[in-house]
Each structure stands twice: as structure tokens, then as C-alpha cells.
């Protein structure tokens, strides 16, 4: 379970709040989407959850452990918006590092790496240097890395950014597979049609505040799409 408790972030004393007093809970096994226009504070919220950014006030916790402690990130996988990897490494070398940093021994790591490569459709391509990978292949390797080892919470920041329609479909299938395994997923995405297809609940953030949160089935009215809801809510905020 992920909890944000009155969390705020302000960059400099004169700047406004990037995240402003957000409180919200994501239950275990839930597929949760963070929606909002550019600069709404979605990525900052995720980065505070992973302790990449220190909150100005409030806090976040994962399974009851404050995100300020490294132990909170046990079983957490993260895929950044623009997947950046050390390009001199091979895909397998990169995944091996991930496994080792999670405390896995070589024998276990090999099995897990083979498993996640199979899931993301990169089996057989893992020995090539990552500088030779396409954008889609890097995204898949990033996703594979986020799944090591036995991830219980997956935090995905724009996981389909830059992917072609086939790549988007493949990532959606991977996420659906993880959801069936009971993995909690927090997804930050602009692709509302994908969110509508895959997520259980969503929160819309604008100017650092949550302006709407609920089950997708509850916030999308009959005859509407999630995109309609998003436009209505955001335009209502800006009116």
C-alpha cells in the first residue's frame, strides 16, 4: 500500500508549490493512474515517493515504511519517463547489476533475468550493447529492470512515451500480466485511452493538487470517455 500524507514540494521560497498538500492512498494490487497536464506535479510526486526528491512538508510511505528509508524501496520497480541507461553495457549486464543491487546471487539472478527478458520480449537480444538498441528496446529493457526482483510495486512514468502502436500494445499486455499477478502499479501517463483500458483508479492532478480521484468506472459517466472527463475537469479548474 502506498500512502501520500499531506505531501508538498516547493522549489525555492519564491516559486509556487509543484505539489501542494496531496494526500492519497493506493491499495495493494491496485492499478492506479496519475493524470494531469504537463507541469501538474505528477513526476515530482513519483520522485518524492522514491526519495529522489525530498518533500518540503509531509511524506510518503510504502507498506507503512517512510519513503525516506531505503528499506521502503524493497520490492519496488521504477521506470523513468525517458529511459536512460548506461549505453556501454549489454542488456544482460544492466539487468545483472539490477539483480545484484537487490541482493540476488548469480544463480538466482540468471533465472530472474531470463524470466523478465521473456516477459518483455527481449529474450535473445540481451547480449548486445544497449547503444545498439532502438527506443522501444530500451523501454522494454527498462521495464524488465523495473521488474527485478519479484516487484510488488511498479512505478511507471510515461512507460509508452515514444513507442509505436505495437510497442504500446505490448507494454499494455505486460502491465495487464503484472496486474493479474497482484502487482501494485502506479502509472503516470498522458495516453488516456490506455489508462481507461487498463487502470482501476485514477487521480487527476492540476497545479500540484488532486482535483479528482476515484475508480475509473465511477468517474467516467455514461457516454463519456476518460479524455472527456479529463478535459472537463482541467478546463473547469482553469475557467
Amino acid at each position: 500500500m502506498v500512502t501520500f500524507s499531506s505531501i508538498s514540494k516547493r522549489y525555492g521560497s519564491r516559486a509556487g508549490f509543484a505539489v501542494d498538500n496531496v494526500s492519497c492512498t493506493v491499495e495493494g494490487g491496485e492499478f492506479f493512474a496519475l493524470l494531469g497536464p504537463n507541469g501538474a506535479g505528477k513526476t515530482t510526486l513519483i520522485r518524492m515517493l522514491l526519495d529522489f526528491v525530498k518533500p518540503t512538508s509531509g511524506g510518503a510511505s510504502i507498506n507503512g515504511v517512510s519513503s525516506a528509508y531505503p528499506a521502503a524501496r524493497a520490492g519496488v520497480g521504477y521506470l523513468a519517463e525517458n529511459v536512460r541507461v548506461p549505453l556501454h553495457l549489454s542488456g544482460k549486464g544492466y539487468l545483472r547489476r539490477q539483480a545484484e543491487l537487490c541482493g540476488m546471487f548469480a544463480a538466482d539472478a540468471n533465472g530472474t533475468i531470463a524470466e523478465v527478458l521473456e516477459i518483455v520480449g527481449m529474450a535473445g537480444k540481451e547480449n548486445a550493447a544497449m547503444r545498439t538498441y532502438s527506443k522501444g528496446m530500451l523501454q522494454r529493457i527498462g521495464l524488465a529492470a523495473a521488474m527485478i526482483p519479484g516487484t510488488k510495486l511498479l512505478v511507471l512514468d510515461e512507460p509508452v512515451s515514444g513507442l509505436d502502436p505495437l510497442g504500446i500494445r505490448d507494454v499494455r499486455r505486460i502491465m495487464e500480466g503484472l496486474k493479474r499477478k497482484g502487482v501494485t502499479i502506479i502509472l503516470n501517463s498522458h495516453l488516456l485511452s490506455e489508462v481507461e483500458k487498463t487502470c482501476d483508479t485514477a487521480a487527476i492532478i492540476d497545479k500540484g493538487r488532486i482535483v479528482l480521484k476515484g475508480a475509473i468506472s465511477a468517474i467516467v459517466r455514461d457516454g463519456e470517455t476518460l479524455e472527456d472527463v479529463f478535459v472537463r475537469v482541467i478546463e473547469g479548474q482553469h475557467a
Binding site: 520522485r47 522514491l50 526519495d51 529522489f52 526528491v53 525530498k54 531505503p70 528499506a71 521502503a72 524501496r73 524493497a74 519496488v76 520497480g77 521504477y78 523513468a80 529511459v83 536512460r84 541507461v85 548506461p86 549505453l87 556501454h88 544492466y94 547489476r97 539490477q98 545484484e100 543491487l101 537487490c102 541482493g103 529492470a145 523495473a146
Partner: protein, 268 residues
């Protein structure tokens, strides 16, 4: 603790796969190999012929200083973009999204750079040691121990440049590190010059003592001088009441603490 050693291993692997490392290594080996020429010539000083072993001895001491100082430059180059590059290529994010304390990450990276730089320096000193042994037939006891002593300077440089790189551009961070080294060499050289009989005779009415800032300044040059006394067996005369080794250890501890505190607040 295993994660710490893994990060050191990754750092060493990443550095030795950089083209700049290979270039620096080749240039350094070429420089050391050039020294062989010094050992085979005939030298005359003030009309007296100097034997090959004496020449080899002095050339090796000079080379020791040059290598020890040169490696500080190399350590600054390796350290200056270490943390920034990690942020840019995603390394910091993929490591710190795992249950890894920041202190483990930052020290693992710094110690990895220090190990590579120290190995670099030790390899060059070992080459000089072997060349002296083979060309002049003389061993220099303490030469490799002295190299190990100078590793404290390398660690100081790595930590200082890493710390500075959190607040300023890479190149400026390296320049700050090299500036500290330059002042240390200048201050110590000035002090040693002031201790010579000639200068003391000239300044009889104005005895020259090291100013307090010179005593508190990082003793990079002094530690190197101390290391050389392990080779030549001469008495070591420190600047100020505290041994340079202790001063450098205190500096390393203080900068390491500063690096941890600064990196803990840094956004990834």
C-alpha cells in the same frame, strides 16, 4: 555491504571502459618508459663522474613525485563528472530506486574512482621500481610503501572534486581540486626554501615561520615529502606540529562527511 562492493566493482568497470582511461594509461606508460633513457647515460657533475645507480636513484625520486602529482590530475578528471554523468545516463536513478542508501552509492562510486586512480599510480611506481632494479641493479626499499602513503592524497582529491561537482560545473570542480593541490605545493616549497641555510642566513633578522593558514592547509605536498623519506631514509621535517598524514586523514573524514550530507539533499 555487498551492494557497496558491487558499486565499487561497477565503477572500476565503467572507468576502465572509457576511452580517456586507455589514452591516459598509454601516455603514462610511454612517459615512464622514457625514463629508461636516463639510466643508461654517463653523467658528469662538477667534473666528477656520477655512477649509474646514483643517477637512477635521483631519477626515480623525481619520477615518484611526478607520478604522485600527475595521478592527482587523473583522479580529478575521473571524479569531476562522476555524479553528474550518473544522473544523466540514468545510473543514479536505477541504483537508488533499489533499497540502497545514498551513502552506499556515493561512497561506492568515490572509492571505485580512488581504487582505479591508486592502481594507476601504483602500477606506474611499480614500473619505475622494476626499471631501476633491471637497469641500475639497485632496489629502492620503501618505494612501493611510499606509493601507498600517497594514496591518501588521491582519496582526498577524489572526495573533494566529487563534493565540489555537486555545486559547480565539472571543470570548475576539477580546477578547485587542482587549485588546492597547487597552493599546497607552493606553500610547502616556500617553507622548505625558507629552511635552507642560504635563505636563513639572508633572513637572520626576520626569521620565517609558516603562517597559520599554511599549517592548516591540506598537506598534500608534505605527505608526498614524508613518503619520499621512506625511500631515502632522511629525517622528515613537518610544517607545523601535526604530522601531514594525520592532517590528511582529518581532511578526508571532513570532506567525506560533507559529501554525504550534500548528496543526501541532492535531487536525483
Amino acid at each position: 555491504m555487498r551492494s557497496f562492493f558491487h558499486i565499487i566493482k561497477y565503477t572500476v568497470f565503467d572507468i576502465i571502459h572509457q576511452k580517456s582511461f586507455v589514452v591516459l594509461l598509454l601516455v603514462s606508460i610511454a612517459f615512464v618508459m622514457l625514463l629508461r633513457g636516463c639510466y643508461s647515460g654517463n653523467y658528469t657533475v662538477n667534473g666528477k663522474t656520477v655512477d649509474g645507480l646514483t643517477v637512477a636513484w635521483h631519477a626515480s625520486i623525481v619520477a615518484f613525485h611526478l607520478v604522485a602529482a600527475g595521478v592527482l590530475l587523473i583522479a580529478a578528471i575521473f571524479s569531476m563528472n562522476l555524479l553528474r554523468r550518473d544522473r544523466e545516463d540514468g545510473t543514479a536513478q536505477y541504483m537508488l530506486s533499489k533499497p540502497l542508501p545514498r551513502i552506499t552509492y556515493v561512497f561506492g562510486r568515490a572509492i571505485g574512482v580512488w581504487l582505479v586512480s591508486f592502481a594507476f599510480m601504483f602500477a606506474l611506481h611499480l614500473t619505475i621500481f622494476i626499471i631501476t632494479l633491471v637497469s641500475a641493479g639497485g632496489t629502492m626499499p620503501g618505494y612501493l610503501t611510499a606509493s601507498c602513503v600517497c594514496s591518501a592524497n588521491v582519496l582526498f582529491m577524489v572526495l573533494l572534486v566529487c563534493l565540489m561537482s555537486l555545486y559547480m560545473p565539472d571543470f570548475a570542480a576539477a580546477l578547485v581540486g587542482l587549485g588546492v593541490v597547487a597552493v599546497s605545493y607552493a606553500a610547502d616549497s616556500f617553507f622548505h626554501a625558507a629552511q635552507t641555510r642560504l635563505v636563513q642566513a639572508m633572513m637572520q633578522n626576520h626569521p620565517m615561520n609558516a603562517p597559520p593558514w599554511a599549517m592548516a592547509w591540506p598537506k598534500i605536498c608534505s605527505l608526498q615529502d614524508f613518503a619520499v623519506t621512506l625511500i631515502n631514509g632522511k629525517a622528515f621535517q613537518p610544517i607545523g606540529p601535526v604530522h601531514p598524514g594525520i592532517v590528511m586523514v582529518l581532511y578526508v573524514c571532513a570532506i567525506a562527511a560533507g559529501l554525504v550530507l550534500a548528496f543526501d539533499r541532492k535531487e536525483i
